[in-house]
């Protein structure tokens, strides 16, 4: 985690804390997955690109290939020469279609965090769901 939520005292109670669960096994699993998610998130952001045109084309094609369970083909739109753009779309796919599964995994992991904070045994299942989503990449 690169940036903690820097929360003023007035709202500290209203925002995620989680320190009580730090010693619990599920918390360890969450922490381990958290680091992997950070890395995957950066890779996804990097592979997508900041222009909405390029991002749309790369994410759209990568997600479609993932959805249909087929390798990424030639890029639909040559934002650069075919070989380079094909590689870029493949990288977007490798980085999980612009982060689609990472995004869902982050949500699942946050759910695990919440369950863990409440001492709910469902934490493990939520971590497993996040791991499975991350493994889809």
């Amino acid at each position: 985690m690169r940036f903690a939520w820097i929360v003023a005292a007035g709202l500290a109670g209203a925002l995620p804390a989680g320190t009580a669960a730090a010693a619990q096994p599920c918390a360890e699993a969450i922490a381990a997955l958290d680091a992997r998610l950070d890395e995957a998130a950066e890779a996804a952001i990097s592979a997508s690109s900041g222009g909405q045109g390029v991002a749309g084309a790369r994410e759209g094609q990568a997600l479609d290939a993932e959805r249909r369970g087929v390798p990424v083909g030639e890029p639909a739109v040559p934002y650069q020469r075919d070989a380079k753009e094909t590689q870029a779309v493949k990288e977007a796919a490798k980085a999980d279609a612009g982060g689609d599964a990472v995004m869902q995994a982050r949500a699942a992991l946050n759910r695990a965090r919440s369950l863990d904070r409440n001492g709910d045994a469902g934490c493990r299942a939520a971590v497993a769901e996040a791991e499975a989503l991350l493994a889809k990449r």
Binding site: G53, V54, Q104
Partner: protein
């Protein structure tokens, strides 16, 4: 050809006495270094360039020519890029001219002008360009005088040796400087920002002002070549349709019509391909239009013939009332919702919109000697070049794309389908120059429409009225539908426009994305998905404030929460506008500041007469922070007017404050049109609006009478730059509709307001 000057095909060296600085060096020698993970401009196709040889030439008379590789569509980028180069170069502004680069990203770096990132990505490279050129001029002067370079300094278009009082003008030094090697980046000294003469100041006007205001500027639709033919296309009235059969006999009888031919529809996802149809080529534009009118065409409407906005809205609503793909989650929404003292829910509908640039799409292509040349008002000359080459069976090197001024773009002109149409028709006419022009009706009936969406929000409030649980379901057909067959979910970059990165201090938060198929061409539109997301979230916060009996501005600040810096990827945003999440964090302190500034500007809390109201909204997008406070008056018969809007923007360090102000003013006027009257609806797959009488934008009598722009000034030049072109728009609409509620008690949950206020 008039007006906008393009870089010569043969380069600057073709001219007499004009020197490209270190033109002999390989292009890209000064390019960005490779990194394992790239963000921002470095991650864009073909990355960034900062080689002065590519962007600066100095003539013997001292004229400095700056090549602008970004496209001008009213945002002032040709001025702003030149300002940055000229400032670092210590050039006198009245001796600077700007020429437009053709589409050639391998030479100039990324040119796709979208995403509010021309200066965000190219500010530092352009500073280095100017500084490197200045350094070379200083070195040339020092060498000529035989003094250490440390003793000379560039000042106002000349280099001076203060100890001796000698001075040489840039024109006198250009030849010698051009023979020097480009200095290493590490050896280039950037100016101290306190010495800026143009950057961050309002000391220069637009370079294109004179041409635009005298009618001499060249837009895509203005291009005329000898022997040029004119063409319009009858496109399938329903997306995905095709020509079953057509009869051209009557069209061919129209004087001036020379050919009628079919254009094939795309075989797969439409991406940037022409929609197909029947083209009429004529000797003048009127004949082409009349010939098209005379065509007899039988259409096969295809799979979207049943698309109706009313039915689709019902389908979106049904989808929004069921769980969808979870795209962001914090805490335990269900648990917190169950314990909430009060629950509030609302659904917001945002219709399709059309970019409707004042200049509809237009392009000219001619083919000769195995080469094609295009003139086009395009935001994306490189993709145009590559796509046109492929369409014509040429190599990219055999295609040149000249960029004209754009009479507005708003994302429409990032898609070069109209240039491809011109290429197809030129080829069919044995290479003759053919101008394809879209009429207003063409543009509105066959657009890349802004998505339609249903946004459902639910919240649980505690006993103090504070939100403790938040559920947001966003349902909208995705832009990905033009690139892949039948996707059902929004893409991460669309969700990263206000949902997965929404900076709200609610402990239990869940965002879902149910399915929504696309039935029209969906494209990006200024601000893209931030428009529906900001409208829904900012309207809902105002609704919660009302439910809690609180002041909307105070409540908005409470929902934003205390000042803190958040990693967007930790929230669930896997796009972050392509920027490094460690450098571009979400800073709620800056968001709060623009809210407070806009509120103070409009005099939040002041007493207003009956029928008047104030509304406020804020939104973070394109890594900038904007808040809008609007005052509305709802008069007799529900007639709505907007006496005043205060808009506050924090885009980090400002390069061209005059352009920041104009972009915010433009966003307010555009947003007013969206709030009040603009929408594209469909029946039987056909767009129901086809000109400005039915697609109604803000007009003189409905535009805000006074717009006050408040720019948050930062002295810290190490702060990353934010976007300016797009982030102004999203909060405008909810600020207006929230003001309507304050004035009337009527909550606006569907856009446009239209006749909802009529009594």
């Amino acid at each position: 050809m008039r007006g906008i000057a393009n870089v010569s095909r043969r380069g600057f060296l073709a001219g007499t006495g004009v020197f490209v600085l270190a033109a002999g060096l390989p292009a890209g020698a000064f390019a960005q270094q490779e990194k394992e993970k790239k963000f921002g401009g470095e991650a864009m196709p073909n990355g960034l360039r900062d080689d002065p040889a590519l962007f600066v030439a100095i003539a013997e008379d001292g004229t400095v020519t700056v090549t602008c590789h970004r496209q001008e569509m009213g945002q002032g980028v040709r001025t702003s890029i030149a300002m940055v180069v000229a400032d670092e170069l210590e050039a006198a502004w009245d001796r600077v001219r700007v020429v437009q680069a053709p589409g050639d990203e391998e030479r100039y770096g990324n040119q796709d002008t979208d995403g509010s990132r021309s200066l965000r990505h190219h500010y530092m490279p352009m500073r280095r360009v100017g500084a490197a050129a200045r350094t070379m001029l200083e070195q040339a002067a020092a060498k000529q005088w035989g003094v250490p370079v440390a003793e000379v300094r560039a000042q106002d278009h000349r280099v001076v040796h203060q100890a001796s009082g000698r001075a040489l003008g840039y024109g006198e030094l250009a030849r010698a400087a051009s023979a020097l090697p480009v200095p290493d980046r590490a050896a280039v000294r950037l100016k101290d920002p306190k010495d800026f003469r143009y950057i961050g100041k309002e000391t220069v006007g637009l370079v294109d002002n004179a041409g635009i205001t005298t009618g001499k500027a060249t837009y895509g639709i203005d291009v005329r070549l000898d022997g040029m033919l004119y063409a319009v296309v009858a496109r399938p009235p329903v997306y995905g349709g095709k020509v079953r059969r057509f009869d051209a006999a009557a069209a061919m009888k129209v004087p001036g019509v020379v050919k009628v031919l079919a254009i094939d529809p795309p075989a797969g996802p439409t991406e940037f391909e022409p929609l197909g149809g029947v083209a009429v080529v004529a000797r003048n534009s009127w004949a082409a239009i009349k010939g098209r009118d005379a065509l007899q065409i039988e259409w096969d409407d295809g799979p979207n013939a049943g698309y109706s906005s009313a039915a689709y809205r019902a389908a979106l609503t049904e989808a929004a009332r069921k769980p969808g793909k979870v795209v962001r989650e914090q805490g335990d929404v269900a648990g917190a919702m169950a314990k909430a003292a009060k629950k509030v829910e609302a659904e917001y509908y945002i219709p399709h919109l059309a970019q409707a640039p004042m200049e509809p799409p237009a392009a000219v292509v001619r083919i000769a000697g195995g080469k094609a040349e295009a003139w086009a008002c395009t935001q994306a000359p490189q993709v145009t070049r590559l796509r046109l080459a492929k369409k014509l069976g040429l190599t990219p090197e055999q295609v040149r794309v000249n960029v004209t001024l754009l009479g507005g773009g708003f994302g429409r002109k990032s898609k070069p389908d109209y240039v491809l149409e011109a290429g197809i028709l030129s080829k069919a006419m044995d290479g003759a120059p053919v101008k394809v022009f879209w009429t207003r009706e063409d543009d509105l009936r066959h657009g890349y429409y802004h998505t339609v969406s249903l946004q459902r929000l639910e919240a649980g409030l505690d006993a103090h009225g504070r939100p403790v649980a938040w559920l947001h379901r966003t349902v909208a057909p995705t832009i990905g539908s033009i690139f892949a067959p039948d996707p059902k979910h929004q893409l991460p970059f669309e969700l990263g426009m206000g949902v997965t990165n929404a900076p709200v201090a609610v402990p239990n938060y869940r965002a879902e994305n149910p399915e929504a198929p696309a039935h029209v061409r969906i494209g990006w539109y200024r601000s893209v998905s931030n428009i529906p997301h900001a409208f829904a979230i900012q309207s809902f916060i105002a609704e919660l404030a009302h439910a809690a009996g609180r002041d909307p501005k105070d409540y908005l600040l409470e929902v934003i929460g205390p000042p803190r810096r958040m990693d967007p990827s930790e929230l669930g945003d896997l796009w972050n506008h392509g920027e490094d999440p460690e450098r571009y964090v979400i800073d709620t302190g800056r968001l709060r500041k623009v809210v407070e500034t806009a509120a103070q500007g409009i005099g939040w809390g002041r007493k207003l007469p009956k029928g008047s109201g104030l509304g406020i909204a804020a939104h973070y997008s394109f890594v900038s922070y904007v808040a809008v406070a609007a005052e509305v008056v709802v008069g007799e018969g529900g007639r709505l007017s907007i006496p005043r809007v205060d808009i506050a923007v924090d885009c980090g360090p400002r390069v061209n404050p005059e352009r920041v102000r104009s972009q915010m003013e433009g966003a307010v006027i555009m947003g007013a049109g969206h709030a009040l009257s603009a929408q594209v609806t469909f029946d039987k797959g056909r767009a129901q609006q086809d000109n400005f009488d039915s697609y109604v934008l803000a007009r003189m009598d409905t535009a805000p009478r006074e717009i006050r722009v408040h720019q948050i000034a930062w002295d810290d030049q190490t702060m990353p730059l934010g976007g300016v072109g797009e982030p102004g728009l999203p909060p405008v609409i909810p600020a207006i509709t929230n003001a309507v509620f304050a004035a009337t008690g009527k909550r606006i949950r569907q856009l446009p307001i239209g006749d909802q206020l009529a009594v």
